[in-house]
């Protein structure tokens, strides 16, 4: 109980009894819903409106994207296990799962780099047609979010390595996890609306 009290003192609380950090971060995530909502709206509005190719069916590689989707989804599992490791003060588990999140995030970004490069070789660029413009902006911004997440995870990994991530700091990892899971749920929607629904 004393440890809990000490942990409480490290964070600021709102009148609701909830930490400012977490309230603020959930508000940020709510606003991010609108950000990606606008990008997704633009893609959906112009879906099928490209006057010249390449068209989605010409360039999409569903098996490849399925693998990258699976990797990102499993990185969310790794993230929640990393948080569990921090809460249990288990440094090995924390490092292992944070490392796994970093590697999986990097693999996802590698897939996206390959996909973008392949599309450009196929003639689909940002300026080629309305499909290219909306697709690259939407998935590019998502990729940028994943990149920020990977950098964030690397900083947590370094902190854990230096024994600066005790259970009292679990909220830091939880908030990083919220960001990572949000990036994951955005991709869940993109995967279906952009890739799977013709």
């Amino acid at each position: 109980m004393a440890e809990a009290a000490v942990a409480h003192d490290e964070h600021h609380y709102t009148a609701t009894g909830l930490t400012n950090w977490k309230v603020g971060f959930w508000t940020f995530i709510g606003s991010e819903c609108l950000f990606f909502g606008t990008l997704l709206s633009t893609y959906m509005v112009y879906k099928g409106a490209a006057l010249e190719g390449p068209y989605p069916l010409d360039v999409f590689d569903i098996p490849l994207t399925t693998v990258s989707t699976f990797v990102l989804l499993m990185s969310s599992l790794a993230m929640v296990l990393a948080l569990d490791g921090v809460q249990r003060a288990n440094k090995k588990l924390t490092l292992f799962w944070l490392g796994t999140v970093i590697v999986m995030g990097a693999i996802f970004l590698g897939f996206q780099y390959y996909e973008f490069t392949h599309f450009v070789h196929e003639g689909l660029t940002l300026q080629q047609n309305v499909f290219g413009s909306t697709f690259f902006v939407l998935t590019g911004f998502h990729g940028a979010h994943v990149t920020v997440g990977v950098i964030w995870m690397i900083t947590l990994f370094i902190l854990a390595l230096r024994d600066k991530l005790p259970p009292a700091k679990a909220l830091n990892v939880e908030i990083a996890g919220l960001y990572w899971h949000f990036v994951d749920i955005v991709w869940i929607i993109i995967f279906v609306l952009v890739y799977l629904i013709p």
Partner: protein
Amino acid sequence: MSTQTNSHVDQGLDAHGDGHGAHASVGFYWTIGLILAALTGLEVAAYYMELGSFEVPLLLILSAAKFVLVVGFFMHLKFDSRIFTGVFVAGLALAVFMVSALVVIYHWVPGAA
């Protein structure tokens, strides 16, 4: 500050001060991960099976299920304060309304776009 701390302890809040008393087990998280993987497999299977008019609703239901599982259990909304759910759902609802309204206007209302 000490009063505030005691208040939190009295209310049974955990060490993170985020209002959730329950934590899922590691095994539970693995189960959710496996369900998410299975749902992704079903999505891709539905894509290749070409189910006609059932395909789009089925894909939307499967992705919604994955969304709810990640938000509810991995992001702990199921165990957390309802305030977080409210803040998140407010933004999400606006986004869903915006996307839906624009899609309807541009794709289904003749002459509206």
